[in-house]
Amino acid sequence: MSRMKLFIPVFIFMVMAVMLWRGLYLDPRTLPSVLIDKPLPDFELPRVEDEALISKADLPDEPFLLNVWGSYCLPCLQENPILMAAKEAGVVPIVGVNYKDKLNLARLWMDDNGSPFDFSIMDADGRLGINLGVYGAPETFIVDGNGVIRYKHIGVIDYKTWDEEIMPALAAVKAEATL
């Protein structure tokens, strides 16, 4: 028995090593969203394109992507070609949330890089962002036809995340809608 006791430090070491090893591969920036399966917050904000006031009722009544972006945001530029391709292929409607940006800069950005959005909501003071639990662009939500948030991706969308995360999650939401 007392000989077994000699192995206690080794045992503790192994438990700690496994935990710390796993910890190395956790991304502390990916916070679980508490808003999954909650309805989108209400808002009444101008559209970037024409400054017309829009609200929740003006959002698509089919599953769509809600992409939080800003002209100052480099990763947004990085993911733009993927979103553009999705728009051109007619995969899914994309609505932008122009987060804490300036109207003229946002329009300039869309002129320069192309707009993958059906339209963009102008959230200049970031209040819609707060209600969405946003903490920095880019963030992308999948919203179903009933205006309920079903999925959230934090950070840039690359081809891998598009294929392995966004598309499957979107397919699941769409499949449910046709039931």
Binding site: P28, L31, P32, L35, G126, I130, N131, Y135
Partner: protein, 169 residues
């Protein structure tokens, strides 16, 4: 000699314990003041604002409170707290507002739930465990008393026999 090694072990253990305490965040955080031009009607409102800005964590620049962060979202959240305080909202209502949007992460002082039990009482657990080990070490390192050392008749006989043997050789 025995005592010496017990002391060394005790020192090592206490070092380990304090490391554990540091890792679990028992040391106080250093807050840095941010510059905001908010005007309050009462000192109490200002005190509550400061308190809450310290107690909420910035979701963007993690490991900084809202007070210490100059991130865009922290600025917005400070503004929301300010507006809610001026609107006469209670601390509980403001905490609820944050919780609904950012989850438990937003609290620097985590709420006491089943999931955070280990977080709250882990250090205490380590303290009890450490105390228990120290007690064990001290008890074992105690010098023996006269009675424990004293030989009974039978043992005296054996000792005598052994000594006689030695002498004969």
């Amino acid at each position: 000699m025995r005592r010496m090694s017990a002391l060394v072990r005790l020192l090592c253990l206490s070092l380990l314990l304090s490391l554990g305490a540091a890792a679990t965040g028992m040391w106080p955080q250093v807050a840095v003041a941010a510059v905001d031009a908010f005007e309050f009607e009462t000192d109490e409102q200002q005190r509550r604002f400061r308190q809450m800005s310290d107690d909420f964590r910035c979701p963007m620049c993690q490991n900084t409170s809202l007070t210490g962060s100059s991130g865009g979202v922290a600025e917005d959240l400070r503004r929301e707290i300010y507006l809610m305080i001026m609107d006469g909202k209670t601390d509980e209502e403001i905490e609820q507002f944050m919780l609904e949007r950012y989850g438990d992460f937003i609290f620097y002082r985590p709420r006491l739930t089943v999931e955070t039990l280990l977080l709250w009482f882990g250090p205490l657990l380590f303290l009890v465990l450490g105390g228990w080990i120290i007690l064990g070490i001290i008890r074992r390192a105690q010098p023996m008393t006269q009675e424990q050392v004293a030989l009974n008749d039978e043992e005296q006989q054996r000792l005598k026999a052994l000594l006689d043997n030695v002498k004969r050789d």
